[in-house]
Amino acid sequence: MRTGPASRLAALGVETDSPGAPVLVIEELSKAFKATRALDAVSLTVEAGEVHGLVGHNGAGKSTLVKILMGYHEMDSGRVLVRGVEHTRRIHNPAEAGITVVQQDRALIESMSVADNIGLAFSEGRRDLWHHIRSTLERDRCARVLAELGMDQIRPRDLVGDLPENVRPVVAIVRALLVLEDFPHTGVLVLDEPTAGMTVADAEVVTDVARRVSDRGHAVVFVSHRLAEVVSLCDRITVLRNGVVAAHRTRSEVTKEQLAALISGSDGEADQTVPAGRQTAEAVLGVKPGQELATTSSAIRVAGLRGGRLASVDLEVGWGEVVTVTGVGGSGYEDVIAALAGVLPSSVTTCVLGGRPVLRPDPRTLRQAGVAIIPRDRKRRGLWMEASALENLTLSRLDQFSSGKSGYAISQKAEERYARDLMRAHGIVPDIPDIRVENLSGGNQQKLVFARELAGSDRQASSTRPRVVLADEPVEAVDVKTRAQIGLLLREVARAGGSVLVVSADVEFVAQVSDRVLITRDGRVDAELTSSRIPDAALRDPGVAEEFASRILAKS
C-alpha cells in the first residue's frame, strides 16, 4: 500500500523545508485568448514528494497551464504560489521561482554528449579558460545524478544521438532537475507528455525516473494522456475539462476507465460522436448507405514518386479503403501527400488518381481529377485565415453562386444558406457563417477544411463529389471529439466507395482508422501492415487498435 508523499519522504530520510506544506499551489487561475476561455478558475496543489497527474482532452487547458508555469503566458486572474512565494500576472523567472518544465520536444541536441546537453542549461556555451574544468565538474555531477536516478547505463560522454529513444527524455529530465537543484530549496518539475509515442516497457523507465525525482523532495507534475501510467504513477490526479477542473482524485479512488469518463464528460456525450459521424458523412457525401460509387479503374496508383525526402515511392490504394503512410520522423512519409499534390517540387513516373492519369502533380490537375486535399498546416495552406467561414467554404465553388443575370455578382443569400447548411452537416460550432475562421477552435477549423474539400470544386471534370481524399495529418492539433468525428468521416468516405490516403504520425489514430498501413524508411516504403477488418460506421476496436499501434511502432 502506497503511503502519502510526506510519510514516504520521511521514510527515505529526505529533508524538506516545509514538510506537509504544498510546494505548488495554483489558485483560481484564469486565462482567456481573444474570445475563448482556456482556463476558468482552476485550482490545484502539489506537495513535496508528490507526483501529481494532470489529464484532460486536448483543448481542455493543460498546455495553457503548463505555459503559464513556464512563464510564457500571463494569467488573467488568480495566483500561483511556489514554495510559499506568490506570483500573479506572470512568473517572470521560473527557474529562480523553483519551476522547471520538460517539454515534449525536449530540446536535446543529438550530436552533443549527454553532459554537454545538460550543460546547455548552465554554461551558456562559454568557452574560456575555465571551460575544461567546468566541463569535468559538470560531467561528474551528471554521472552522480544519473546514478542516483538509477540510470547509470547512461554515461555523460555518450552522444544523445547514440542513446536509445526511450532513454533520451531522461537526459532532458536530468537537465531540468539540475537546474532545479541549483537552488537550495526543492521545487516543481513539470513533465509534459514525457512518454508520448513510447511502448509500455520503455515508458516505465521514464516514469521510474519521475518517481525518483519526487523522492528527492520535489513536486512533480505529470501531464499525460496515457491513463494507465497516470493511475499507476501519480499520487493525486487533476482532470481538466473545457478549461475547468472536472475532478480531483487520489490514486486509490479512481480507475483508468473512470478517468477516461471524467475526461470526456458523461458517457452519453461520448456515444453521440458515433451517430454524428455517420450522419455527417451521409449528408456530406450525398450518398445513401449501400450506394456505391464503384468504378473499375484504380483509385490511386503511384509509381516512382520523388520529392522532398522521398527517394522513390510506389503505392496503390483501392476504392473503398483507407491507407495510411507513416514512419519515423525524417523517413519520408511526411512528404508523400505534399509531393503528390505538388506542394513540394516532385516528380512521378506514373500517377493515376481517381481513375484519371495525372501527368504532373500539381493542385489544379488534382482538382480536375476530383481529388480532395486536406493539407497539413491548415492555417497556412488549408484555410483563408483572414476571412469568414462562409468565404472559406465557398472558395472552390464561387461560380455556382454567381450568374450572368445578377451581373456575375455573388449572391450573398445563396452563399449564406449554403455555408450554414454545410456547417451544420459537419457539426461546426458555432454555425455562424460570418464567423472569422481564426476564432474557431482547431477542431472546427479542420472540419471546415473537410467541409470545403468534400463538397467538391467548380473545377471538377465530373459533377459527382470527390472520390479520392488525400488527408495530410488530418487530426493534428484537434480536440478529442473532433478526432473521432474525422476518423469516422474518413471511414465513411471509404464505405461509400471512395479512396482515402492518409499521412499521419499519430499512431493511435492510424491504428483506429486504417485498413492498411505503409511504413517508410529512408524515403521508400519499407513495410506494409494490416489488421482486423473495421466494422461499418465505426472505428477499429480500441483493444485491437492498441495492439496494431504497437506493431506499427515496432516496424518503424
Binding site: A32, A35, T36, R37, A38, N58, G59, G61, K62, V66, Q104, E165, N166, D192, E193, A196, M198, H225, N242, T326, A341, P363, Q368, I373, P375, R380, R381, G382, W384, M385, E386, A387, S388, E391, S396, L398, D399, F401, S402, G407, Y408, A409, I410, D434, I435, R436, E438, G442, G443, N444, S457, V475, E476, V478, D479, D506, E508, F509, L553, S556
Partner: protein
C-alpha cells in the same frame, strides 16, 4: 522506434468556448467600419460652416476635376494591391500614355479613338512585362515597378523631345471637357463609370473574391487550385491599362502634358487605396473605399487651402494618411479581428 506523439498538450490547440458579443460591442464594431465616411462628413460640415467658398458647386466641381486623373490612378493601383502586389509604375505609364496619345493625334493625325486604343494596348504590354518579371521570374514587385517607373519616365522625356507638350487636338479636349450637370467636365463621369465597373468586378464577383485570397493567403489559394500566377499577372495588366485611360483624361482635362510631372501623381493613389481598406468589414483593398478615401483627402486639402493653409499641406496630408492607416490597421483592427467579416 517511437514516432512523434499523439495529441500532446504543447501541440494541441487552445480552446473552444466563444464568448457572446454585447450590443455595445456590435455597434462600435459597425461604426468603425465606416469611420472614414463619418470623419469625412464631419470635415465637410466644419468647412461648410467656416468658409463661405466651400459649399459651392464650383468648389466641388473643381475638386472633382482636379481628381479626375488621380481617381482612375487610385483605382488602378487598388487592383494589384488586392492581390498582394505593388505597382509603382502607374505614374510612368500615366505620363507616357498622355504623351503617346498626344503624339499620335497631332504628329500622325490619328483619330482619337484609335489613338486611345493604341495607347491602351501599349500600356497593356507594359503591364504584361511587369507581370512576367514579378510573377514568373519572382522578382520583387516593389523594386521592379519602381525601376519600370523610372524607365518609363525616361522614355517619356525621349518621346516628348524633352519639352512640355501643349498642342492638344480639340477633339481630344472636347471629348474630355464638355460640361455635364452644369460645370462638371465629362471626363469625371468617365472616371466614375470606370470606377464603378472595376469596383463591381473586384468587390462583387468571383474574380474579386479570388484576388482577395491570392492577396492574403497565397498558399491556400494555390492549393485550392486557383490560377494564382495568371490572376497576379492580370492585375498588373489592369493597372497599366487603367493608368493609360487616366493619361488620356489627363491630356484632355489639363490640355498639356509635362514629362516630368509623373511623380506628383504617385502618392495620392496609394494613400487613398490604403486608407480605403478601413471601409467595409474585411480590411481588404476595395474600390469603393479607395474612392471615398480619395475624396475625403482632397476635400480636406482643398478646405485647408481655402482657409489659407500653404500648398505643401497636400503632401503632408497624403503621407500622414498613409502612415496613419497602417497604424490604424495594426492597432485597431488587431483588436477588432475577433469580429465577423462579410
Amino acid at each position: 522506434m517511437p514516432m512523434t506523439a499523439t495529441q500532446s498538450p504543447s501541440v494541441a490547440d487552445e480552446p473552444t468556448r466563444p464568448r457572446r458579443r454585447g450590443i455595445q460591442e456590435r455597434v462600435v464594431n459597425d461604426i468603425s467600419h465606416y469611420a472614414l465616411v463619418i470623419v469625412g462628413a464631419v470635415i465637410v460640415l466644419i468647412f461648410a460652416l467656416t468658409t463661405s467658398q466651400f459649399w459651392t458647386t464650383s468648389n466641388f466641381s473643381n475638386i472633382a476635376t482636379a481628381d479626375s486623373v488621380t481617381l482612375l490612378l487610385a483605382v488602378a493601383v487598388t487592383v494589384p494591391l488586392r492581390a498582394g502586389g505593388f505597382d509603382l509604375s502607374v505614374s510612368g505609364t500615366l505620363i507616357d500614355a498622355a504623351i503617346l496619345a498626344d503624339i499620335l493625334t497631332t504628329r500622325y493625325s490619328m483619330a482619337w479613338p484609335l489613338a486611345l486604343l493604341v495607347t491602351v494596348a501599349a500600356a497593356a504590354l507594359v503591364g504584361l512585362v511587369n507581370g512576367i518579371l514579378i510573377v514568373d521570374l519572382g522578382l520583387d514587385g516593389f523594386i521592379v515597378t519602381l525601376g519600370m517607373s523610372t524607365l518609363l519616365t525616361g522614355i517619356g522625356f525621349g518621346l516628348s523631345g524633352d519639352t512640355v507638350l501643349f498642342n492638344v487636338p480639340s477633339a481630344v479636349l472636347n471629348v474630355n471637357r464638355t460640361d455635364v450637370f452644369g460645370s462638371l467636365p465629362v471626363a469625371c463621369v468617365y472616371g466614375w463609370v470606370i470606377a464603378c465597373v472595376v469596383g463591381w468586378i473586384i468587390g462583387k464577383t468571383p474574380v474579386g473574391r479570388r484576388l482577395a485570397v491570392v492577396g492574403t493567403s497565397r498558399e491556400t489559394a494555390a492549393l485550392i487550385g486557383l490560377r494564382v500566377s495568371r490572376l497576379r499577372r492580370t492585375t498588373y495588366v489592369c493597372s497599366a491599362v487603367l493608368a493609360a485611360a487616366a493619361g488620356f483624361i489627363l491630356l484632355g482635362v489639363i490640355g498639356s502634358v509635362d514629362p516630368g510631372s509623373g511623380s506628383a501623381y504617385l502618392l495620392a493613389p496609394f494613400s487613398a487605396a490604403f486608407l480605403g481598406t478601413t471601409i467595409g468589414r474585411s480590411g481588404r483593398f476595395n474600390v469603393l473605399g479607395t474612392v471615398i478615401a480619395l475624396y475625403v483627402l482632397s476635400i480636406t486639402e482643398q478646405g485647408l487651402v481655402l482657409v489659407g493653409a500653404p500648398s505643401w499641406i497636400a503632401d503632408v496630408f497624403n503621407g500622414a494618411a498613409l502612415v496613419g492607416t497602417l497604424i490604424f490597421a495594426k492597432v485597431w483592427r488587431g483588436r477588432l479581428s475577433r469580429r465577423p467579416v462579410r
